[in-house]
């Protein structure tokens, strides 16, 4: 049982290496990938139940001391995140079994799935680890793989988008490494907990080093997780990627970097240092700019996937708002929004991908009356979009309430009105899509309800994600209780 984290991390790695060895028939490949993912899901569920009953534990590789070796810290939040990530990835991978047949060539399927396995490996590793340089290594793997799953589709815009993403992502990684260097200079440790201990003693002696360190790390992670105004790689990258890749990138990969930022701010530095350096004001201001300007840019878009990408920028602003408050309630609200936005955004990207799969139309003007031809897809889209706007019963509403409560208990009433203004702007660009898909009609053919012309592997993940969005919207305690269990580890 104690070895479960290692198994969970190593299983995708080995299967990524084994995929080139299996026969290249489509069905065998899909079968193999689903077997691996379901095993992974079962293992993560086992680990989560283990952590819930026995409490969190640390796993040190090779039985070295934690200070000199690499340590995995598994607390309830990390276990829940790992389970959530593997479950959501499983659904997206099932969705991709049919979708990539329209986007990639036959001989590329194997490469795509080994890249997805490496993606899982690096994401789960980055979540588990308690060592800052280990985080950097996993981060580099993740950045290469995430650009690779964009450029695997051989189109002009994909190459350009993934090249720019790679450049900006490398700048981000290098600034993080520079910040790491400043930290290592002062503390001499690489483990997060011992670093925290040394920093709390040494802070007054070397203030400039620590300021430079936190500044560089913050900028690097902000580049990678698309905080406004460093989000400029995001619209091109997420809109031109194949649909399963955009679902992966926009819902999960970006959030992993935010979790790393949370670890850095809360575990290594501690709330006192950050608030005395006024970093939290910076994050709050940038987050609120992101919320408003992300929505304003989204209103003016013509392409549906680009619109969803800009909407991601706005929602990531919400998460940063929660994280930047530096209170337990705020952190809990930000973490809850990570979960709910991941679900809603993957539902949106999957339904947009289904629309493109069956009708090849991406522009919003062509989407009139599509609600009657593909009702299940559009119902998924509507429920997720209504959640983004803030209709009760869907998880987006609960995250707005949590964020509002956190903001008011910390006496920031201005940001509360910004959240509600941003919800109103969200309504402005989501509503016309819903309205024109259900209400406008083709002049010649009157609309009548038909069944979706989609294969079953695309419909089932969408239905499951919609149901889970509704479930978490009605019973948010499922996630919130676990988050509140884990909060003492961060304060």
């Amino acid at each position: 049982m104690k070895q479960l984290p290692v198994l969970i991390v190593l299983l995708p790695l080995f299967s990524a290496l084994m995929i080139p060895l299996i026969p290249k028939r489509k069905n065998i490949l899909f079968g193999f990938v689903s077997v691996i993912f379901s095993t992974l899901l079962i293992l993560t569920i086992l680990s989560y139940l283990n952590v819930l009953s026995y409490g969190s534990f640390r796993y040190v590789f090779g039985n070295y001391l934690a200070m000199v070796g690499i340590e995995f810290l598994i607390d309830p939040l990390i276990a829940l995140l790992v389970m959530f990530v593997s479950g959501l990835s499983f659904l997206i991978v099932i969705y991709s079994f049919s979708d990539i047949q329209h986007e990639l060539k036959e001989h590329q399927y194997a490469y795509y799935y080994s890249l997805i396995m490496l993606l899982m490996f690096s994401m789960l590793g980055m979540l588990y680890t308690n060592d800052i340089f280990n985080t950097y290594v996993f981060m580099e793997i993740l950045s290469i793989v995430s650009t690779a799953i964009i450029s695997i589709k051989h189109k002009r815009s994909n190459f350009l988008a993934s090249f720019r993403y790679l450049m900006l992502s490398s700048i981000g990684s290098l600034t993080i490494l520079m910040g790491l260097a400043f930290l290592y200079m002062v503390t001499g440790q690489l483990n997060m907990d011992s670093m925290a201990y040394v920093i709390s003693n040494v802070w007054t002696l070397y203030p400039t080093n620590l300021v430079l360190a936190i500044g560089f790390i913050l900028i690097g992670l902000a580049i990678k997780s698309a905080m406004f105004p460093l989000h400029i790689w995001l619209p091109d990258a997420h809109s031109s990627a194949p649909s399963p890749s955009s679902a992966f990138l926009s819902s999960i990969v970006v959030k992993i970097y935010i979790v790393v930022l949370i670890k850095v701010i809360y575990r290594i530095f501690g709330v006192d240092i950050i608030s005395s350096l006024r970093i939290d004001d910076f994050i709050l201001v940038m987050a609120s700019f992101g919320m408003i300007f992300g929505s304003i840019f989204a209103i003016g878009q013509k392409d549906i996937k680009r619109l969803l990408a800009y909407s991601s920028v706005a929602q990531i602003g919400y998460i940063f708002l929660g994280v930047g408050l530096l209170t337990p309630v705020g952190l809990a609200a930000g973490l809850f929004h990570i979960f709910s936005h991941a679900l809603m955004k993957s539902a949106l990207f999957m339904s947009a991908g289904s629309i493109i799969y069956s009708t090849n139309k991406r522009k919003l003007i062509d989407l009139d009356g599509i609600g009657f031809k593909m009702p299940i897809t559009l119902i998924t889209f509507s429920i997720a979009a209504l959640g983004m706007i803030g209709i009760p019963g869907i998880s987006g509403f609960m995250s707005k309430i949590y964020l509002g409560l956190a903001l008011i208990s910390d006496k920031h009433p201005l940001f509360l009105s910004l959240i509600l203004l941003s919800s109103f702007l969200n309504a402005i660009y989501y509503m016309p899509i819903l309205i024109s898909s259900f209400l406008k009609e083709d002049v010649l053919i009157k609309n009548s309800l038909q069944k979706d012309p989609l294969p079953l592997t695309m419909i089932i993940p969408m239905v499951i994600i919609t149901l889970s969005v509704l479930l978490i919207g009605l019973y948010p305690q499922i996630i919130m209780d676990v988050i509140e269990l884990a909060l003492p580890y961060y304060f």
């Binding site: 580099e140 350009l160 520079m178």
Partner: protein, 122 residues
């Protein structure tokens, strides 16, 4: 003043290289120059990291038996940088392959021209 500058040449050189690399990546239009800029930035960070481990009057970190009380240079940063160099090489290789594909599709190596032609396509 000059003394402190001379004592910390490594750090100053690293920072200067970092800024030069950042400038190159952000302002030059040619795609290959951007990759070179990334490489310069990576080199600067490695230089910085390794020079952190330097301890004055330290010896190379190889233990000989029967010798105690010797000051060694910190071996850890060098190990970390080895990983970093591998990562840098792989990023450079990947970006160069992307550049080849970009040249095949767009016919130019100028990023501004590529962005313009992409906008016109929409």
């Amino acid at each position: 003043m000059i003394e402190t500058l001379l004592k910390h040449t490594n750090y100053l050189g690293a920072i200067a290289l970092f800024i030069i690399g950042l400038y190159t990546v952000l302002t030059h239009n040619n795609v290959l120059k951007k990759v070179i800029g990334i490489n310069i930035m990576e080199t600067s960070v490695f230089l910085f990291f390794v020079s952190i481990g330097m301890i004055q009057f330290g010896r190379a970190p190889i233990i000989k038996l029967n010798e105690t009380d010797i000051v060694y240079v910190n071996p850890l940063p060098s190990a970390l940088i080895l990983t970093g160099i591998v990562v840098a090489v792989s990023i450079t290789a990947y970006s160069l392959s992307l550049i080849i594909q970009l040249y095949r599709e767009y016919g130019t190596l100028d990023l501004d021209k590529m962005l313009e032609s992409k906008e016109e396509q929409e």
